[in-house]
Symmetry: C2
Subunit: 422 residues, 2 copies
């Protein structure tokens, strides 16, 4: 695997969104998630100096209000701060939702000396219930007073919902003579599927890079990280990835297509891929992390179709949950992927062991295959032997507990009822 | 709903594939499913007189050997008999699988006085293990000796696998002065998803209709029945629908595009739709039968995309399992369906009650919505308010028990090992 942390060029460092120089953060507990708990659920990230910014958002046509507002603000210029909450997605909330998202920007813009459009806003949580603004509004002051360069972990904690733990990643590396840092956090455990920027992810860097170059790098890296994971095949209404670069490393601006630009891109991808994998590993009631490599496809799109079909199949995911090395179910999903394949050419390996060769059962003893699928992490390699294109995805099993966990969101509705919101 | 059994024109009658005149059937227990049980697992359907025939098959590019052989035989002319087994799908079995499927045709062709190409063959069960032919071959004789006009129910029982019960449907109606019967059986409970003829379904009729007209009617009816159901989103390698028409009702041949042809088509669709719904109701560990109506789409394809996204969403299906009237999850799936929609125009009703109006929470009390989703069968109507196209699908919840049930097929492998097949 390329770009692992064994790679000499990059050093893993502590922290997330405040690992880079010049970024402050803060988080408070407003009771949006649960009025009777003190879990953090409102967060703020702020760059002391002007910065460039880039974002990618869900391609779901039902978009949450904060997604619409952040997209609009990013179109107007760079953002320098991000306000984010968990517990309510502010999705399917109509005009009032847009007003609430604007109000969240306004609430921190003035005290920070910024325009409303210099703030990005992100929300995650239940869909279709009005935002409990009466819980949020009283906390803008303490949010701003709490800003400091060490509260990255609080942001990571404040944005999680069904995640079992906060997820951060940060690295440090040299660009020329300058030490540069990239760090970020991510939330997401359900409603995770590729073909957009899945979930909330905030990344900061003290690299100096133009908005245009940052945007290009962000799009490319999201395509090779967050767009390659799936837990349950469901695409969220709130997916947001935001990257802020403030140049506080004092390096000169990264030039387009330079070797420095490549170095930066590789570093950004490394951070995004680590965070994306962390999302799958922390997927709702997930017990397996499975890397699916598709090789030898005729086109990139064919390879992608095969990987997505396999990674999204309920039957394949059930067999992973059961530790069953069921290559018959894998090849059946390959078959309905709509990719151009020839059954008799397909090889399937579990880690290094062949399970299927030329479309037929391979001679590997079943016990050896079962030992692989029994592990918490393994790799499935599907060689189509048709061409040179490949694609990799990161997926999980589907467990009975996932469905149990997602049977009802009634508790949220009951709270909203208590709050007089519905 | 059009075409229900309340419709005066059609009378529900007992039986399945032998409800129509001139069809014989037979089934035996070979021990393919389980060598120590006497469950029926090999079946034969035979038309005493020459007949016309039509079939639709999986569009999975990984096709089981019996699918390939039946497709080839149907291309050569009409088939007059069907041999089918459960317990082994004869899929991903290479050249030996093709030989075994041919052998099954040969085994009954001669005693029936037919050519090999006048037999269709169908298999269902585990993928990737060789057919245990040593279990099947000794039973051709008793299969043929057992042929009789009352064994339709035995065929229905012999083809089921994870189904909890055999599924049959038959109707009788008048075409002109002649009473005509259409009857059939179906198996299928998992690996069920639209866009092909899902599962095994055999239908016989004593109507007189040309091969060409029968083929046209079959394709149209499959599109409006079996292609509109989904249980787990997984498309099988063995899906087969076969329709045999022998004219034993002594009616004159149905002319193309005549009113008689329309009557026949409506009747065929009625039988197929009943059987398709029976598959969903008997889906693996299913607790809910949900009809999803999409109305007001700009195009048929848009309506279909919306219905499929909603019916296949793991999160929507989990909420159905939990009896949670979660319209937020429904609209989120509408959003990622890639259909052209406008969030603010969408209405969602559960049975007759509005859950979402204009993309926002409707004022219906939550308890009333919960009462609807608590029922074993209910209808979700999604009005896009964008155009005139509509589409209906039949789906189920996804239960923790489904995943438990599908965690492992290791027992099949162990039996194959014992049999010396792997």
């Amino acid at each position: 695997m390329s770009g692992g942390f064994m790679d000499q060029a990059y050093t893993k460092i502590a922290g997330g969104v405040t690992a880079a120089k010049g970024f402050l953060a803060s988080a408070v507990s407003c009771g949006i998630k649960n009025p009777t708990s003190d879990r953090l659920d409102l967060a703020l990230i702020f760059s002391e100096d002007p910065c460039t910014s880039a974002g990618t958002f869900t391609t779901n046509r039902v978009k949450a209000a904060p997604v619409r507002v952040s997209q609009s603000n990013l179109r107007k210029g760079d953002v320098r701060a991000i306000i984010a909450n968990s517990g309510n997605a502010n999705a399917c909330t109509g005009l009032q939702g847009i007003r609430d998202a604007h109000a969240m920007c306004d609430g921190v813009a003035k005290p920070l000396g910024l325009k409303r459009t210099e703030i990005a806003v992100a929300s995650t949580g239940v869909i279709g219930l009005p935002m409990p603004m009466m819980r949020i509004t009283p906390h803008y002051d303490s949010l701003i007073q709490g800003l400091n360069p060490k509260s990255g972990p609080d942001v990571a904690a404040a944005i999680i919902t069904s995640d079992t733990h906060a997820k951060e990643c940060a690295i440090s590396f040299m660009i020329g003579q300058h030490r540069v840092r990239i760090g970020g956090c991510v939330k997401g455990a359900g409603m995770i599927s590729p073909s957009m920027a899945t979930m909330l992810c905030f990344i900061t860097t003290d690299a100096a890079i133009s908005s245009e170059n940052l945007r290009k790098a962000t799009l490319e890296c999201v395509e090779e990280s967050f767009n390659r994971i799936t837990i349950d095949g469901d695409m969220s209404t709130n997916d947001t990835v935001l990257v802020l670069a403030n140049g506080a490393s004092e390096m000169p601006n990264i030039r387009r297509n330079s070797s420095q630009c490549k170095l930066f891109r590789a570093a950004l991808k490394l951070v995004m891929l680590e965070l994306a994998k962390a999302v799958v590993r922390d997927g709702e009631r997930v017990t397996k992390f499975v890397t699916v490599n598709v090789l030898g496809a005729r086109t990139y799109l064919d390879a992608k179709k095969v990987a997505e079909a396999v990674c999204k199949s309920a039957l394949v995911k059930s067999s992973w949950n059961g530790g069953d090395p069921n290559w018959g179910r894998i090849i059946h999903a390959v078959g309905y992927s709509r990719a151009r394949i020839r059954e008799e050419l397909i090889d399937i390996h579990l880690d290094e062991k062949p399970a299927c060769l030329g479309g037929l059962q391979a001679p590997t003893p079943m016990d050896e295959l079962r030992a692989i699928v029994a592990k918490p992490e393994f790799t499935i390699t599907i060689h189509l032997n048709q061409g040179l294109a490949d694609y990799t995805m990161y997926s999980s099993d589907l467990s009975p507990e996932y469905i149990d966990f997602n049977r009802s969101e009634y508790a949220y509705w009951k709270q909203a009822r208590k709050d007089g919101l519905v």
